[in-house]
Symmetry: C2
Subunit: 437 residues, 2 copies
């Protein structure tokens, strides 16, 4: 793979037809028409009430690596003419991108991104932009529901083994953005500065076995010796009550935590809390894991759980592993365009969007309008949702940090009307309306 400043090119993370359309458009001259492409979701998956915009930072970074070097051009040369290859060789995106800030909420038809420039320079970004947004928005949107359900308890993302090895750090990032506290994934720790976390696996306990059977105490003693008394011991390899007793015997009542990874977590959490308290380990935390999703997390709200470890359901978007974002041409040389065939109507034209809120901060409506024609907002306060992300091909200064985007998610969740935080399937938390010019 070609490298850009030592990093891999992203140019081939692209569908072939983007480049054949480019070739045809260069040949007939239409490639240079000024276009707007819009990224939006026609609907939220599975009766969700809101979505969380995620991936913006990753997409912008990938955009700076979208370059055709010799290795990329070698592949393109198999099906493209010389004119197109020359154009790709010199390619740098030189247009503008506006979009919802990373971490903002979105709803059906929210114009999450507006990509403007020549047809040629915009069309070839479609696959990469959608891949990043469809993945990251799906994970962050599921993660935010889990964070809501956890009601302030600590959340550790530990789903790396359940998803593609390079999707894993992106999932960790999206989860952290949505309010998770830490990740098990070391590449996410390095790349994004997310706090790392981890406990121990059953294998470690089983390793401490002999021909006479298992020595759980030996495993616990080893872990405490190596990692300190603040560590979390996994107590469910054999019998949980015995595991808890052994853990406190070995580590003393200052033990950091115990993890339960199987069984009826609600019942077990209560029993283990009682047992820990009776042993004087009143500050030892209870970590639960094992097929937790937002519903299971919510169901444990009344139980003495201190930390949730979430794996599979997080990285598969809890039933919605892709966000359904599309990248549609909406304007050509100042004229709105839209397809008209059945079931997939789109609204043409470059758009802006505002979100209306009561004085309390609770949002009531998303209004999408032809760019430059923001409607009157009546009694409500209005927030412009588009921020400039790219100007003339350059990232705008003052891109938010991941921590700032994380704060934006938290503020967004607080702004939802109360139905918006319901886990059950239903309508979007606020309607999206179109204001004609």
């Amino acid at each position: 793979m070609e490298t850009i400043d030592g990093r891999a090119s992203t140019a081939l993370l692209t569908d072939q037809y983007e480049l054949t359309m480019l070739a045809a458009a260069l040949a007939d001259g239409s490639a240079h028409r000024r276009c707007t492409f819009e990224v939006f979701a026609r609907r939220l998956p599975n009766g969700r009430r809101y979505g969380v915009v995620a991936g913006t930072g990753r997409m912008l970074e990938a955009l700076t690596r979208f370059r055709f070097g010799p290795a990329e051009l070698e592949v393109a040369a198999r099906f493209l003419d010389d004119r197109t290859l020359e154009w790709l060789r010199a390619y740098r995106f030189g247009g503008d991108i506006d979009g919802y800030a990373e971490g903002d909420l979105y709803f059906p038809n929210s114009p999450v991104l507006s990509v403007r420039g020549s047809f040629a320079e915009c069309v070839i970004l479609e696959t990469l932009i959608l891949s990043v947004y469809n993945h990251d928005c799906a994970i962050a949107s599921a993660a935010a529901r889990m964070v809501s359900a956890a009601a302030g308890r600590r959340m550790i993302e530990m789903g790396s083994r359940r998803t593609h090895e390079l999707a894993a750090p992106a999932s960790s990032r999206a989860a952290y953005l949505a309010g998770f506290d830490a990740t098990s994934n070391l590449e996410a720790v390095r790349r994004y500065g997310i706090p790392g976390a981890g406990t121990s696996a059953h294998a470690f306990t089983l390793l401490h076995s002999g021909s006479d059977g298992a020595h759980e105490a030996e495993a616990f003693r080893s872990q405490v010796r190596a990692l300190g008394v603040g560590t979390t011991l996994l107590v469910d390899t054999f019998d949980i009550a015995q595991g808890v007793a052994t853990a406190i015997e070995v580590a003393g009542p200052e033990l950091g935590g115990v993890r339960i990874d199987s069984g009826d977590l609600g019942v077990l959490a209560g029993q283990v809390r009682e047992q820990l308290d009776s042993l004087g380990a009143t500050r030892t935390r209870i970590v639960v894991s094992g097929d937790l999703d937002e519903y299971a997390i919510a169901a444990l709200r009344a139980e003495p759980v201190d930390v949730y470890g979430v794996g599979t359901s997080l990285v598969v978007g809890s039933g919605a592993p892709t966000a359904g974002m599309v990248y549609k041409l909406v304007e050509v040389d100042g004229v709105p365009v839209a397809k008209r065939s059945s079931h997939k109507e789109s609204r043409g034209g470059t758009k802006g969007a505002i979100r209306l809120a009561r004085a309390s901060g609770t949002i009531v409506e998303e209004v999408v309008f032809p760019a430059g024609s923001a409607p009157a907002t009546g009694e409500f306060t209005a927030r412009e949702l588009h921020v400039p992300l790219v100007r003339g091909g350059e990232l705008t200064p003052d891109q938010p940090s991941l921590a700032e985007s994380r704060d934006l998610v938290a503020r967004g969740l607080v702004s939802l009307p109360w139905e918006g935080l319901k886990l059950s399937a239903g309508e979007p938390a606020v309607p999206t309306t179109f204001a004609a010019e």
Copy 2:
């Protein structure tokens, strides 16, 4: 990221606890015990009848890049002691791996991989191995059902935009392995030599619009001029019947194909076929796309569809985006080990597996047994399922090509009893039994 021969290190695609367990095991001396870890799925997702082993080639390649250079050690040094860091600096996997050949079928409890070596050298591979297998097996298993449903018609994978940008080429590879014919993803074309394919998007037709509206004929003419009459024109941007008429008017009856991406594909395929035939375009192929999964593909079996383009449902594993593979310690210093806590019992010991078949080739049973103790097979022919993948840390010679693995999938599907190819939910196609020593 550290690079190995110019390629990125995979060492941090790992959960933190693998390395803290390593530290504790190095400190107490248990790190050097001889262990077997086994990769298997406790069950197939969603009532599936079989799974397809995929990712072996990718995993083995990633294994050769599992090295801790300065960048990886810098992260590890934040929570590990010097002894562990020194050990990681020198790390090379030096053990053995046996496994089902890539492209073979698997069933619940099939010992898909058997990883043997010291605890230390094996445990830290868990996350990476599972990430690759859980992703690739999920995609290939879904793809094989789609290929069965298509009953020999051409299949193009075009789901890149619906999944993480770097999961996309791995999805293309898994789909091709399972019998898809081509991919839209250019990185998969480059990296794995999969045939590329593509048509055109609605944006290209809409680009050819003026203030007087759309000029579909102009778009079609441009595409045919640039890409030849063998191209596939997208005819559903406006009115499909008009689109087909315009397509043949512009391209003539030798047009390669038309694509329909919306509407009732079954009805439309019939109408379009009639229209094409009446225009003399009897060899123009009909390509359908738009939210196709194995059920929709099967439902179109009676219709004159020539090519299926499959996106979303493929890359999300058609409802099962992760394969549920686990990596379990099953033997320590020659003694079988297993956890005993509720609901997740494992069977200890290093294992082998054979698959029994009738003389006709139809398989009847998968038999798992303690390694070295293959049972008698009675009237059936038996095939050993484990092949050596790694010996003393080195990949075995004669690793199969992707084409060879693809052939193995095709042969596997033919070997299933007829119920095994049913799309409906049910039991695994053959039972997995354990033969005790």
